[in-house]
Symmetry: C2
Subunit: 377 residues, 2 copies
């Protein structure tokens, strides 16, 4: 294995929950950590300085989307993705596997890779493990994700077995394609659907490759919440303690707390940003829908305890006015609020783990459960 550019130090535990630090070329990330989703090299509507002030350290961008537009060679020529988007903190890119999965009707999967007709321009392109690595290294990100086949749900055991075998072959092609292991780390993705034995076998094979970090994939694709958490816990138990564990595409506040309690360190999800654009704000009293007329004359801040620009600068009445009038400042402020909510949640989880306080963790679990539910007044 070539020089590593990524390391994880486990600093504290509380039950299965872990606090640590992920060291990356563009900085250190305390875990548990939540990554905002900046698919096209921008977290929708949010400037990089605001993102940093929300407490975000590590941002997720998307290989497929940046490959199609503006193109990885363009970004490389402009000095890489960090310079392109003016974000000097760490960046992780999703490999494109999930995008292919979400565009199944436009894609043909073969052993070579995935041939896809891009909705952006109608062009046919083939995304392979080699291309995924080339693109991510050209973007110059801190963490590249292996190109995997994201399994549909539900899937038969035979189908899941085929898929994990292919994901493993693709992983080996990803490893072989790396040219800059000293600058871009590679995380493998644990698949296996809802089959414990397949997950266990796949985990063994992954660990054998001694990767920089491990993601738990193939969850949050339509299964029950009980299965999500049970398989996150089982997957985490299979992974080495000295590597970071990333649960992809999760989730609601309660899912994040449950997954941290199950031994997961790292998360990404579109929920806080998408919900914000749609007028929803997470608070310790529940998820508020600012489109609701009940806020029309409500002079209180969205969440009195929150230090974000939406809560310190404006009333619920104004936020509600912006959302109802279709004014984009509304989505922007609620996005900032929700990111701040998520970042404060993971920071408080970390504090509770650092002092090994299960009581605090239980309190956060209850609060996150409430935050996940719509406010009924």
């Amino acid at each position: 294995m070539a020089t590593r550019c990524c390391s994880f130090e486990l600093e504290a535990t509380c039950g299965d929950a872990r606090a640590g630090t992920l060291q990356l070329p563009h900085g250190a990330v305390p875990t548990p950590a939540f990554m905002p989703v900046g698919t096209r090299g921008t977290v929708r509507g949010i400037a990089p300085d605001e993102l940093a002030r929300s407490g975000s350290r590590l941002v997720l961008a998307n290989t497929y989307h940046l490959w199609v537009r503006p193109g990885h060679e363009v970004v490389r020529g402009l000095g890489g993705l960090h310079r392109f988007m003016s974000w000097d903190g760490p960046i992780l890119t999703d490999s494109g596997g999930y995008q292919v999965f979400s565009m199944r009707d436009r894609a043909v999967v073969s052993e070579e890779g995935v041939r896809i007709c891009s909705p952006e321009d109608g062009q046919y392109r083939t995304l392979t493990p080699e291309v995924a690595i080339e693109v991510q290294e050209a973007l110059g990100v801190d963490i590249a994700m292996a190109f995997d086949e994201c399994l549909e749900h539900p899937a038969t055991r035979a189908r899941a077995q085929q898929s994990t075998a292919r994901t493993l072959r693709w992983l080996d092609r990803c490893v072989a394609a790396r040219r800059r292991p000293d600058q871009t780390a590679l995380f493998g993705i644990l698949q296996g659907g809802l089959h414990e034995d397949l997950r266990r076998d796949h985990a063994e094979q992954l660990i054998h490759r001694d990767l920089d970090g491990y993601a738990v994939g193939g969850l949050s694709v339509g299964e029950d919440r009980e299965d999500l958490i049970a398989f996150a816990r089982y997957s985490a138990s299979l992974l080495p303690t000295d590597r970071v564990r990333y649960l992809m595409g999760v989730g609601h506040p309660i899912d994040i707390v449950e997954a941290v309690l199950a031994g997961i360190d790292l998360f990404d999800c579109v929920l806080p940003t998408r919900a914000g654009r749609h007028g929803q704000g997470y608070t310790s009293e529940g998820r508020r829908n600012l489109r609701n007329g009940r806020y029309r004359e409500d002079r209180r801040p969205l969440d009195p305890a929150c230090p974000c620009p939406a809560c310190t600068g404006f009333s619920r009445a104004y936020l509600s006015h912006l959302i109802r009038a279709g004014e984009r400042l509304g989505g922007r402020l609620l996005t900032l609020h929700n990111l701040t909510y998520y970042q404060r949640l993971v920071a408080r989880l970390r504090s509770a783990i650092e002092v090994d306080d299960p009581q605090q963790l239980r309190g956060l679990r209850a609060e996150a459960a409430l935050a996940t539910m719509p406010v009924v007044e």
Copy 2:
């Protein structure tokens, strides 16, 4: 006349061009000044602190829109428009006359006022001079505009004469409806279409009312640019030197320079904000369309001399990527840039007037002419 809350001090001239200070309840505004348009109590996508940093001192909001949603009584109950939108600088509200004009097919005009079927909710409402004043005073703005009939273009002399007469009767009803002249100033609007004698007669009648300031209305509604400037100049010449002169709805950078040279002090226009949302950026080399593929690999700032967040933080390539990808950060950054461009333009006009330097003014005129034209490379 009751206590005034608005005064204008003329500080310097250069030819007909004027530099002065407009004193208002929420602060002083150096003129020439440009007001960003914040129709619904928000300049689209821009936070109040960013607006202030763009050099904007005075913001325009809209009586009609805030009357319909969220309602002036709601805003009053929340402490007024300043507190509602978190803007502590001065605010001027357009009276709704222009909105009625722009929704002619949904409105019936009578001597009483305008009955309108609001596209927002399908409700019928009647906007009258009394309602316009009541709403603006409830909003607590620094400057209320008189409710006028905005004349269509072209209009016959007879039609223009009828319309100015009605506007004058409505003005008297506005004056009589005022309850807070010590907190909200009232500006009259000079009409008369493209008829010098009607404008002269109307100006005499307006001046007789001794109002806090005077706007030049009924221009920028489809007439030639020559007529726009000629009638702005003629209108300015009819107005007293010790009151501020506001040319409504103007305009392109070159129009602003020409109108300042013609003796106008104050402007509002949707162009910098709308053009920004549509991917256009004003620069000293012309108006750049960032949607154009030519910027795909252009690592230079949009305008190297500009201190705005778009120019100091990002490349043309990134701005172009955001615009082409439909990412809202693009419109936001270009809006900020364009507002900064307009504010720097009026600030430089003011400096040139202060030192009585016609040469500098000519230079700014040439630059603004270029900024108004699309860049051809």
